[in-house]
Symmetry: C2
Subunit: 226 residues, 2 copies
Amino acid sequence: MNGVILVSGGMDSLVTAAIAKRECAETFFLHINYGQKTEKKELQLFQKICEFYQPEDQLVVNIDYLQKIGGSSLTDDKLAVRDFAGQAKIPTSYVPFRNAHFLAIATSWAEIHKIKNIYIGAVEEDSSGYPDCRKSFYHSFQKAIDLGTKDETQIMIKTPVIDLSKTEIIKLGKKLGVPFELSWSCYKNNEIACGKCDSCVLRINAFKKAKIIDPISYEIEINWLE
Amino acid sequence: MNGVILVSGGMDSLVTAAIAKRECAETFFLHINYGQKTEKKELQLFQKICEFYQPEDQLVVNIDYLQKIGGSSLTDDKLAVRDFAGQAKIPTSYVPFRNAHFLAIATSWAEIHKIKNIYIGAVEEDSSGYPDCRKSFYHSFQKAIDLGTKDETQIMIKTPVIDLSKTEIIKLGKKLGVPFELSWSCYKNNEIACGKCDSCVLRINAFKKAKIIDPISYEIEINWLE
């Protein structure tokens, strides 16, 4: 078995990479720069994650036209990354249809190299409510891959953590020996995580619930034992 | 009504643009450079097509990572563009899953600007047999858009020429006053069309059948009246 794994530098895709490493004899790590504010850090970590997991091949693709298209606080300097305000509606960090771009790129790479699986660390329930993280979206995109590639091409989208909570993902990662110090969740900073944006708060709360101390540093003081 | 129109510089998308211009009060022309050998010419023509049709906005997006991924004679210098050898299996010019990338980009742009339609000049029957030109592919991608964007976002994929033959497309274009001199089909050359690649041969034959003289120049002599 072989697989393309979308590795963002985040925690969910890192655990997904660990799962793929167990399932696949050959892995191909794909990192996509979409002009997000924390790309510098994420790319650095992607390189380190590749050193750690030693995939057969790795590819970095630049689609920073998503920054030009704009509309998301992750890519648009005019829009501030907001502090966490509860999991209500789709937050301003939503990058329109972003994961469809990721899947399209992974599919093209997979089709050329006859790779049978695409792993993506999307999380549906316990996440920010992005529409392109829904399980139903992946089912429909699977259909688009089946119909939009050669008949002999067989590519399966795998979303091994989609039904897990962030806490479960951390616990699973711990069991799989995932190097969480090589992951980054902050939407805002490239050096020390802010601890206040949506993504930091979800991560911190999940580590607390898992009763594991997050190995990365935060700008604010965190009581991991509370 | 408003619409994003994918304008490649080719004949099918040019006629599609003319149709969209009739249907939409506001049009947004999108051109995508995917590292194809004839991009220089196509981008030039895109600019001229914009001058002609005066869309509300225009956007050029670079996804030449498809060239890096390779595997197609359109983007890979190691693979020659073959001469026409009949419409059999999927030709080497197939760029893996290319139109999914195009649709994803159009969708992101449309979602941000609340544009309701995406026009793409795909042709199913009378074409080169690319899987990402099948009507069923567009139906499945429509579903992926519905599920992968915000619930309030409503975007429809329109493929107005998908069931037409190339000859019918030319006749329709003629009726709509399409400036065919601003279109390019050759896969190989940037200056004078080769007249021998798949795409040139389909175009030439269609013009002949339509009993219309193609306004562009070819390297080989063509008897338009035969």
